[in-house]
Each structure stands twice: as C-alpha cells, then as structure tokens.
Symmetry: C2
Subunit: 82 residues, 2 copies
C-alpha cells in the first residue's frame, strides 16, 4: 500500500480570492498580524500497489489530467508506504 | 515573518463525497490501483511577527474559530520562519 500526499496550489502570480476573504475575516476578528493567506488543496490518494516508480508516474498523470489546472495551479507530491 | 502551514482534514469517520467522486473518476480513467482518496484543505498564513509562541496561540485560535469545523474536521499545523 502506497500513499501519495499531493499539494495543489495556486501559482504565486494568481490572485487567491478565498485566501483574501479569510485574511479580511481574520483582521475583522482582531488578528492584526496576519499578512497573507493562501488556500490550497491537499489530497491523499492510497494505492493498492507496492511499485513506487510506477505509482509515482501514475500520480504525476493524475495530477496533470484531473487534480491541477495547469493554467493557474502548480503541484508537488511525495509518496510514502503505509 | 512567520508562516503557519495548516492542514484541515475531515475526521477519518466522516464520509468524503468529493474524495469519493475523484476516486470514481480515476477508476473510469483507468487508474485501477487507486484505493481511496481524501481531499483536505492546506492553508498558509503569513504573520508579520517574530514571536513564535504567540503566533502559535493565534494560529490555534484561528483554526478553532474560522478554519475548521470542530464537528467534522481535525487540524494540525507547523510554524516556520520565512
């Protein structure tokens, strides 16, 4: 069993309106030292496989074909046994 | 400047319909070794502060009061300098 821990984040140059909304709320709640908030997706996929090289390739394909929007998002992942 | 890296995840006992939908899509795309998918939020908050202890307390409060639903979600975070 392998687990891919995948982070899908907006590219730094892309505005994050949801993060901006959270920053504003936090300022309104009195957290004045908050400077910036960025909200991303964190996805864990468990694979019924022991083949690390192949699973890494599959995870790469999964990120490209389904999880990340290549225009606005970047991704990285790590694989671990579980 | 400090950065809090916050993970907000559904509790293991809570059904994740979005994750289930991704699993189904991946099976349909031919990724048959996918066993389970869980989708979570990953939030980075930058603080204009150098006081680690106080920022950790604030992050704890922020998670409780805004970011996580205590009924269905758990959270953990780490703080690092940036």
């Amino acid at each position: 069993m392998l687990k891919a821990k995948i982070f899908v984040q907006l590219k730094p140059s892309v505005l994050d309106p949801q993060g901006k909304a959270v920053s504003n709320s936090l300022h309104n709640l009195g957290f004045s030292s908050v400077f910036e908030t960025r909200i991303s997706k964190y996805i864990e996929i468990s694979f019924d496989s022991e083949d690390k090289a192949r699973t890494a390739q599959e995870t790469e394909k999964i990120c490209k074909s389904l999880l990340a929007n290549p225009n606005t998002e970047s991704y990285h992942f790590e694989l671990e046994e579980c």
